[in-house]
């Protein structure tokens, strides 16, 4: 217990974090988007994103991370659920069974021809829920000083 109170400098860790954070984030976003063709997807992507935030937590402290990311992760869980369910409900509007996905090649003004899929929206919901869940669990346990 005594050692923990000792103030030490974390310059190396914090500097490394600043670089690694973006690498991990980009990788996680890559994993998320690539999920439909290569290994990955919302679940792993979400876990990796929260891994990045976790690194931030380790390098700094809880309050700093809250300042950097002023997000209530429980809301994020709710938003993720809304995405997932919304995708399912959306198919009902087109008179299709619940959670029927649509996909196709669509021309988007700036990006050109894209192969778009509503399953990505669903996966986005999964992603948000996973990030929200892991982060809120870690923050709740970490922030509990009793």
């Amino acid at each position: 217990m005594e050692e923990r109170k000792l103030k030490t400098s974390n310059v190396i860790l914090q500097s490394m974090t600043k670089v690694l954070l973006f690498l991990i984030m980009i990788f996680s976003i890559y994993i998320f988007f690539a999920g439909h063709y290569t290994p990955g997807g919302g679940f792993v992507g979400g876990l990796l994103t929260s891994g990045a935030i976790l690194l931030l937590l380790l390098a700094y402290d809880l309050q700093t991370v809250r300042n950097i990311l002023p997000v209530n992760f429980l809301y994020m869980v709710a938003v993720g659920l809304v995405f997932a369910i919304g995708t399912g409900v959306g198919s009902l509007i087109f008179d299709k069974p619940f959670l029927t996905h649509a996909f196709g090649d669509i021309h988007v003004p700036i990006l050109g021809e894209l192969h778009l899929h509503t399953a990505t929206l669903f996966d986005l919901g999964v992603y948000l829920v996973v990030v929200g869940v892991t982060m809120s669990i870690i923050q709740t346990i970490g922030g509990d000083d009793e």
Binding site: P39, V77, V133
Partner: protein
């Protein structure tokens, strides 16, 4: 809706309005005055049916209830049910009249009382008029419930609650037995209609289920009618208000069992089992009840035992009478049919005099404040009318002329004398017991009847022992017993009016085959020459008188019987020990330790799955189609084994946690080898997170001295746990290998291989997760979300700590 249905269901409907009458009119008018209309209306309705029924016709009305199951409100009126209907409503009206004066309108919760009473009356009417056995059962249980409510009417008294519970347990036990008997009957005959069963009597008797069905149904009848040894609830039911004792526990409910036996006689009658069970149980009850009645010091207790005894007598008559169906025709049959006549006749008589006697006892209780024989005496001059009624009732009960009890008792003696000569059912040897038991029981009946009237009304008046100054009851309270007492005498002088109008159709209902031949002539005469039964009666009177006069000398005999061998003690001990044993069994296996429950669960798992594997002979371990094992797999398996054993044998928790992590990473390596990149990725990250959480838990574990000691020891060794865990592992392994060895159909995985065409995805795993089986994923993220919320609430909402 026919008039018959309306008449049967009207008490239920009216019961809904009783509380309203009570609330708005009770201050001016006793609620009972509204209620009394109902039995009178039904009684008058039933009276006008008499000519029709007496001429041999019957009434059958039905309205659908659950037609798809064949359960309908089939109501059937014949001689037997009409007698019961008349008794229920006639005595019901008198009892309500009596209760109006008996129960104070200021002090008592009259709305409860009359609601329960009407409920009971309706249930009883439904019971006797139902032709459908399941409907009959419904009404049967309704009588049990309403009787329970009525016994515990003064629920603040402990004895009332005890009595109510006892009667409930016993009658419901019988009721449930009866239900299973009914179900067996309907299985045999494929109908719920009692009348249709009559025609199938021979099929039923030949069937394997005949004896179980009969015994179960008789259990119902015997518990309800307080036959030996189920009679114990009746004396305790005397805690009910006296009008209730008069109505339920002498005139109506206890006769439901009699009704059932009489009703089912055409089905079961004529067999030796039926004859023997019913007549022996009846005779034992007769003797037991009359013998015990003599020692009672509470007037209501005495009447309760006398009711038991009289019910036993009616029951034994029904048993003897069932022999008529054995003979089927001719004089012999007619002779035993006379026993049935006697049973029904005595039932009517018993209802009249026992109702009157209960009301008398209620009056005595009401006017003196006690029912204890030892404190009563000398009330003859104080309460002359009550005394007269008591005298009439008691003499009728004792079987003396000129009261109706004499007639039916003579018929009873005639039956038991005749049955001695019967040449069937082994009666040659045992038949002689019948008249002896009947005669001895009648002597006791005589004695307690005398006790009832003379100990209460003769002797010295002891005002200092009474709580109130005794005086004659108000006239309103006397009307009902006077009516009943006059009936007692009227029936004696004009028995054939009742015989022609009621008994003939009733006997025709019980012995339908006999009536077709017209051999039955029912004629009751008070004087029929110097026959055996007359001498028996004279003997009863002579010996009874002597014994009554020498009562003090021989009552010591009752003290010889050990108290802890009574049926009551048996019941109490049985109840208590069943609770105690149940509690001790529960305490034995419900230890409160999770480890014990886990042991049970795993043991059952091993027994069920392992047992099924062995019993169904499905252990097939076929390794020929398995893929070859390569060196990587071997290496990983070995490392996993090492890690697993490290977890088990680790001395410190930290070692176990890290080994667990190793195990997890090895599993993800396995996923890599088996080409499951998505799984490997997920497993890797999830394993990291859980290990971190484990470490967190480990860090926060409290440090007690004991725990540090235990840490050094590692996991304590328990042989039983070892056995169970090895067994579970073995069963799972064998199960998995056997399942792998038998492939029943092709896997459907090939369908998903077209995922690019079907779902526009090249990653099949992801396509399955989000597209093909997206709903599973959706619910899994729900699971995660609930887990997060639970962690959040568990940590943030620590109410118990905050309250401190």
């Amino acid at each position: 809706m026919t008039i018959l249905h309306i008449m049967i269901l009207i008490p239920f409907v009216f019961a809904i309005f009783v509380p309203l009458f009570y609330k708005y009119f009770n201050k001016r008018l006793h609620t009972g005055w509204f209620v009394i209309l109902i039995p009178i209306i039904i009684f008058v309705y039933l009276l006008q049916l008499i000519p029709k029924i007496a001429s041999g016709a019957t009434i059958y009305e039905t309205i659908p209830w659950i037609p798809s199951f064949g359960i309908n409100l089939d109501m059937y009126v014949d001689g037997l049910s009409l007698i019961f209907g008349l008794l229920i409503t006639g005595i019901g009206a008198l009892v309500i009249l009596y209760s109006i004066y008996y129960l104070s309108k200021e002090k008592e919760a009259l709305h409860n009382f009359y609601v329960y009473l009407l409920l009971f009356m309706g249930a009883m009417l439904g019971l006797v008029f139902s032709d459908n056995i399941l409907v009959l059962y419904v009404f049967w249980e309704l009588t049990s419930i309403s009787s329970f409510l009525l016994i515990a009417y003064w629920y603040e008294r402990e004895k009332s609650r005890y009595g109510a519970q006892k009667s409930m347990l016993i009658t419901i036990f019988g009721g449930l037995a009866m239900l299973s008997g009914f179900i067996m009957l309907s299985m045999i005959t494929d109908t719920y209609s009692i009348r249709e069963m009559f025609a199938m009597s021979e099929t039923i008797i030949a069937h394997d289920l005949f004896l179980p069905a009969m015994i179960l149904i008789l259990l119902g009848a015997f518990t309800k009618s307080a036959q030996f040894p189920f009679s114990i609830w009746l004396p305790d039911a005397m805690e009910a208000p006296t009008p209730i004792s008069a109505y339920l526990h002498s005139a109506t409910m206890v006769k439901a069992g009699i009704y059932l036996v009489a009703r089912l006689t055409p089905i079961f009658g004529g067999t030796a089992e039926w004859f023997w069970i019913i007549s022996t149980v009846g005779l034992i009850t007769l003797l037991y009840g009359s013998f015990n009645a003599v020692k009672q010091i509470d007037l209501k207790g005495l009447l309760a035992y006398s009711t038991i005894s009289q019910l036993g007598m009616i029951m034994s008559l029904l048993g003897i009478g069932s022999a008529a169906l054995y003979f089927g025709y001719g004089n012999e049959a007619a002779m035993y049919a006379a026993a049935i006549t006697a049973a029904i006749f005595h039932m009517i008589n018993h209802s009249t005099f026992k109702g009157a006697l209960f009301m008398v006892v209620g009056i005595v209780d009401h006017e003196t404040g006690t029912r204890d024989i030892r404190r009563l005496g000398g009330l003859m001059t104080v309460m002359p009318i009550t005394f007269t009624v008591a005298l009439i009732g008691s003499f009728a009960m004792a079987g003396l002329p000129p009261f109706n009890g004499f007639l039916s008792k003579e018929m009873f003696f005639a039956s038991v004398v005749k049955v001695m000569e019967m040449d069937a059912f082994n009666m040659e040897t045992l038949g002689v017991l019948f008249p002896i038991i009947a005669w001895v029981a009648s002597i006791f009946t005589f004695i307690y009847s005398m006790i009832l009237v003379f100990k209460t009304f003769r002797g010295k008046y002891k005002p200092e022992r009474l709580e109130k100054k005794a005086h004659e009851a108000p006239i309103g309270m006397l009307i009902a017993p006077i009516i009943l007492a006059s009936l007692v005498i009227v029936i004696f002088f004009f028995p054939n009016v009742i015989a022609d109008l009621l008994l003939v159709p009733a006997v025709a209902a019980i012995l339908p085959s006999l009536m077709e031949e017209n051999v039955l002539e029912i004629h009751i005469s008070a004087w029929h020459g110097f026959s055996a039964e007359l001498y028996m009666t004279i003997g009863v009177v002579v010996i009874g008188t002597i014994m009554y006069l020498t009562l003090k000398k021989w009552t010591k005999v009752y003290r010889l019987y050990p108290q802890n061998l009574t049926i009551n003690a048996l019941y109490n001990n049985g109840l208590e020990s069943s609770q105690r044993i149940a509690a001790s069994i529960t305490n034995k296996y419900m230890t409160g330790y999770t480890r014990d429950y886990l042991a049970y669960i795993f043991t059952f798992f091993v027994l069920l799955i392992g047992g099924t594997l062995i019993v169904s002979n499905s252990i097939t371990i076929d390794l020929t189609n398995d893929a070859p094992v390569n060196i990587f797999e071997m290496a990983i398996i070995l490392s996993m084994l090492v890690a697993a054993f490290t977890v088990l044998l680790a001395k410190s928790r930290l070692t176990a946690i890290i080994s667990l992590g190793v195990l997890g990473y090895l599993v993800s390596l396995f996923f890599v080898i088996f080409r499951a990149p998505d799984l490997a990725l997920t497993q890797l990250v999830v394993e990291t997170v859980t290990t971190a959480l484990f470490l967190l838990c480990f860090f926060h574990l409290p440090k007690f001295k004991e725990q540090t000691k235990k840490q050094k020891k590692g996991v304590p060794f328990k042989p039983l746990n070892l056995i169970i865990s090895i067994a579970v592992g073995a069963v799972v392994t064998v199960f998995a290998l056997s399942a792998n060895g038998t492939q029943i159909f092709e896997p459907i995985a090939s369908y998903y291989e077209d995922s690019y065409e079907l779902a526009g995805a090249k990653n099949i795993v992801n396509a399955i997760l989000v597209d093909f089986r997206g709903i599973d994923t959706m619910l899994e993220i729900f699971v995660l979300c609930i887990a997060a919320l639970s962690v959040y609430t568990m940590i943030k909402l620590r109410l118990s700590r905050r309250e401190k």
